[in-house]
């Protein structure tokens, strides 16, 4: 009956053995095992394991639990409830302390919960596919002369049209059960939203292309039409529910209808799928069949994402090796570069999008790790607050403890008492934090561009919340509990209690730790903010203010001259020209097709074609030779390159030498000053420009007169509607498009700002509490000092000195750590701000000032108080 020797969860068995009466053990483990095997047969192993836990936990009943004299389980419920009652009264009695404790902890929890929700959301991307465990994507390493290019894509070769080299892999490799190709239709370098028309409805929408078995491999749910292979025909397409409603009012009515694509082809809707969720890394409004992708549609890139569904139990590494062998056997041996493929889990692709040494390794996952640590540290800082305050207050409670001991309480009960109190505080803080999270979630979502919902019905989330309460309660309560319960009753009752040196050091150590964390976070957030500002405001070598762009499509190319001249005469338009790409998004790179006079090595170029006025329009600077001009008829065959190209080609006096791109050959007439043609993560690459004013693709770039954007847009829309009626106008502002490239940085910036702020506030709350406590302790001392003639300033100095020293020590601890962290981070950008020393100084000074301000609340109050009052008692 037993299946493959699967055994119930070990930990649950241990737990059962621990609490269950020995005489019941045999029958109960037997019963539960039978249940486990039955569940395994009827449902699944994981469900059986979960149910086993459920059953074990349900055995925690009075009749079944071991009786033993020393066990905590024996502690009477009455005692525990009295712990909570006393704890509750204590909370109420010391309102300000409780307030500081609870609010500090709540702030820490809020931060932790937000980070947790965010990390969990990102982690869950792509995990919703039911075959997730068997889905793998192909990644590819192209090695040309030692420079490796890695990407999630599939090798293709030209042979009367492009072919995917391992197209028939299912036949060659039996472990491959199914495969799905996917190619985006709207992403860089050449993708864009496509225009669809039905009757007089026309919309631009972002979609992709996918192969026949796409819907079999993935769980994108088909809600109407062909469930199995909707994309098998060359004229077929599947659209989302949203798109179906947009054009046809309902998913059902959409089936069988024909949509016109880009004024070129007609596609028939064969299926409608449910709108793609945010938890999918593949985003598309529609999918067009694969035959069209390979034979007639334009590509947005040459990258095809291949997802393979493996047979159950197949070893992905073995399959990957077989795949690579298969690929090699089908490639031409004389190729001058090597092409290798490997497999990577599909649901990990989103988090590990960056390749290190040819293997997907880095990416969003490193931000996840960093912020998980930040969350843990902030929670730790908040717990430390709590620990610190409770210990500091211990003297107040020393008498209570002593009384309890005299009356007969043992140490275990006292520890229980204090732990219950801290768990109570943690629970109150958690309730507050949950409320705040629920309230602030919409703001959080909108600033991070996410749609996380409050996990009301998610038992995992609630388990974690309860777990956190217990954990924080224990961590924060353990030191005070152990410390207070070990006080000697006679001394405390006599009022002789002295705080030991070690406990003072311990508390100081905690303050130092708190402030170190705060200062590190502060430094980090300043650098992230500075770097993000730098990215946004960096002089890229061209203008991006007042520039709008839109695609060349429909009749724009054929009537370009008329279109240009008419627009130039309209109000608000300053200049206009065209290019094959926008200058900030040149994603295409080639090396083979570019040759030049005296070429002796390959150089990767970004080729681009522009209009005659392009250089003036974008404000690109010519450092040598001249720019393109209609006055020189031969310029239609001429080229310009940038400084980086000159350097990498290693030639002197480039102007006048010949250069060729594919089969076009001409003279270099000028050298452009370097400009940033892609994200600032990358160094500037060589660029080669020529003039082409008759390309059917590309962008039109319009410069508006400053302050007249609205007039310009109105002019544009009028003319566009008249001259290109089959396409809706879809323009974008270049500065916004540029900023969009740094989405991740902006999110990180926001998260780190909030974290740093919270860490500082929490640390200060702790400091405030400690200062308050010290003030109380030293009332008499200060009274006497005052009577003897100390001035207010001296007293404030005396009072603040100790604390400020701690902050300074914290600064020294934080300095090397934050320096190292920031050096690492900034080096991931080819262009970044300096690691200036003053940032560290500012962070240190700021925390010192904030700490001083916090302490001053107390110190000023103490210094100004009337000594008569403080000395009168006794």
């Amino acid at each position: 009956m037993s299946i493959q020797g699967n055994i119930p969860p070990k930990l649950a068995q241990k737990l059962l053995q621990w609490f269950l009466k020995d005489e019941l053990l045999e029958e109960v483990t037997g019963d539960l095992e039978e249940k486990f095997e039955l569940d395994q047969e009827t449902y699944s192993l994981s469900k059986a394991r979960r149910n086993y836990w459920f059953q074990v936990i349900n055995y925690i009943r009075p009749f079944a639990i071991k009786r033993s004299k020393n066990s905590i389980t024996m502690m009477k419920i009455g005692i525990i409830s009295s712990f909570f009652k006393v704890g509750y009264r204590n909370l109420l009695r010391h309102k300000s302390f409780s307030l500081i404790n609870v609010s500090g902890l709540a702030l820490g929890l809020i931060c932790f919960l937000f980070i947790f929700l965010w990390v969990r959301e990102e982690m869950s991307v792509d995990s919703f596919h039911s075959k997730s465990e068997n889905l793998y994507v192909i990644y590819r390493n192209q090695d040309a002369d030692g420079s490796v290019q890695s990407s999630f894509s599939t090798p293709m070769r030209w042979n009367n049209g492009y072919h995917i080299v391992v197209d028939d892999m299912e036949e060659a490799i039996p472990e491959v059960k199914n495969k799905a190709y996917y190619a985006t239709g709207y992403e860089l370098p050449w993708g864009y939203p496509k225009t669809f028309r039905y009757g007089d409805k026309k919309f631009k929408l972002e979609g992709s292309r996918a192969s026949e078995d796409f819907f079999k491999v993935f769980d994108y749910q088909v809600i109407a039409g062909d469930q199995e292979t909707p994309l098998s025909d060359v004229s077929s397409m599947a659209i989302s529910r949203k798109m179906a409603i947009l054009f046809f009012n309902s998913p059902e009515e959409a089936i069988g209808q024909t949509l016109n694509y880009e004024d070129k082809y007609d596609f028939q809707v064969t299926a409608v799928f449910e709108d793609v969720t945010d938890r999918s890394s593949l985003q598309f409004q529609y999918l067009i069949n694969w035959e069209s992708q390979m034979k007639r549609l334009e590509w947005s890139s040459d990258q095809v994402l291949t997802t393979i569904e493996l047979q159950d139990g197949a070893d992905p590494q073995i399959v990957a090796a077989k795949l690579d062998n298969y690929l090699q056997s089908r490639l031409d041996e004389n190729e001058d570069f090597e092409d290798h493929i490997g497999l990577y889990p599909f649901d990990q692709k989103y988090l590990h999008s960056t390749f290190v040494n040819g293997i997907p390794a880095d990416g969003l996952i490193s931000y996840m790790k960093i912020f998980s640590w930040v969350g843990v540290f902030i929670l730790l800082v908040a717990s430390i607050n709590f620990m610190n305050l409770t210990t500091a207050r211990s003297i107040k409670r020393a008498k209570e403890v002593a009384m309890r001991k005299v009356v007969g309480s043992n140490k275990l009960y006292l520890i229980g008492q204090f732990l219950c109190e801290s768990i109570l505080i943690a629970a109150v803080a958690m309730v507050l934090a949950l409320g705040a999270v629920a309230l602030l979630l919409p703001i959080f979502n909108s600033s991070l561009n996410k749609s996380i919902s409050f996990p009301m019905l998610d038992y995992q989330f609630w388990t974690i919340c309860v777990g956190l309460i217990v954990l924080v309660g224990f961590v924060a309560g353990s030191y005070p509990a152990l410390y207070l319960s070990s006080l000697r009753p006679i001394q405390s009752l006599k009022g002789l209690i002295r705080i030991s040196k070690s406990s003072i050091w311990f508390r100081k150590g905690l303050v130092v730790f708190q402030f170190s964390v705060s200062i590190v976070l502060l430094v980090v957030t300043i650098f992230i903010t500075r770097q993000t500002d730098y990215l946004r405001s960096k002089n890229l070598g061209y203008d991006r203010e007042n520039i709008i762009s839109f695609r060349v499509e429909g009749t724009i190319n054929s009537s370009y001259e008329v279109f240009k001249n008419r627009l130039l005469s309209m109000p608000g338009i300053a200049a206009l020209d065209r290019g094959s790409e926008e200058p900030q998004a040149m994603g295409f790179e080639v090396s083979k097709p570019i040759n030049w006079q005296g070429k002796d090595h390959e150089v990767g170029f970004k080729p681009s074609s522009v209009g005659y006025d392009y250089l003036d329009l974008m404000g690109l600077e010519v450092v040598e030779g001249r720019g393109f001009s209609k006055a020189h008829p031969s310029d239609s065959g001429a080229f310009m390159i940038n400084e980086a190209a000159v350097k990498q080609m290693a030639i002197d006096n480039p102007v006048g030498k010949w250069i060729s791109a594919w089969d076009k050959r001409g003279k270099i007439i000028g050298v452009l000053k370097d400009f940033h043609s892609s994200s600032l993560h990358e160094p500037i690459k060589p660029v080669i420009l020529d003039v082409k004013e008759d390309l059917y693709f590309g962008v039109v770039i319009v410069k508006t007169k400053s302050g007249q954007t609205e007039e310009a847009l109105a002019s544009l829309e009028n003319i566009y509607k008249e001259m290109n009626p089959n396409f809706p106008l879809d323009y974008k502002f270049m500065d916004a498009a540029y900023n969009n490239m740094y989405q991740t940085e902006m999110v990180m910036g926001k998260l780190s700002n909030i974290s740093a702020l919270l860490a500082i506030v929490i640390s200060c709350l702790g400091l405030f509490g400690l200062a308050m406590f010290t003030a109380e302790q030293r009332t008499k001392e200060i009274g006497i000092r005052k009577v003897l003639g100390a001035t207010v300033n001296q007293l404030i100095g005396l009072f603040s000195k100790d604390f400020l020293l701690l902050v300074m020590v914290a600064f020294l601890v934080a300095l090397p750590l934050s320096w190292y962290l920031m050096k690492q981070w900034l080096e991931s950008y080819a262009y970044h701000v300096d690691l200036s020393w003053w940032v560290f100084a500012v962070a240190g000074l700021a925390s010192l000032l904030v700490a001083f301000g916090t302490i001053s609340f107390q110190s000023v109050k103490v210094a100004l108080s009337n000594p008569v009052k403080s000395l009168r008692a006794e």
């Binding site: 029958e27 109960v28 037997g30 039955l38 059953q55 055995y59 009749f63």
Partner: protein, 116 residues
Amino acid sequence: MKETRLGEFEEVLLLLVGILNEEAYAFKIAEEFKNQSGRNVSIGSVHSTLDRLKDKGFLTSEMGEPTAERGGRRKRIYSITAIGKRALEQSRDFKVNLWNQYPELALNKLKILGIK
């Protein structure tokens, strides 16, 4: 003094013990309960109720012979005692009595007897 009345769950379990006879041990009883009532119940809660019924004297139990299917572990087989049986009968009679007094049934009875 021990409570000797039967709760609803207790009554059902007693009946199931009678029905399952030789196979009446906690896991089987829980499964049978699920099959018959459609309600899920944990083995622990069944076990705890059986234990209570034993305390009340309605059930006895003894360990069965070891079998191979559960790693050689023995089962605790429950069986109804005479008192248990009597308690069940009392409970049934009590309810039948009540049903007989229920207006519709009473009327029907009158009809059958030919009295209007």
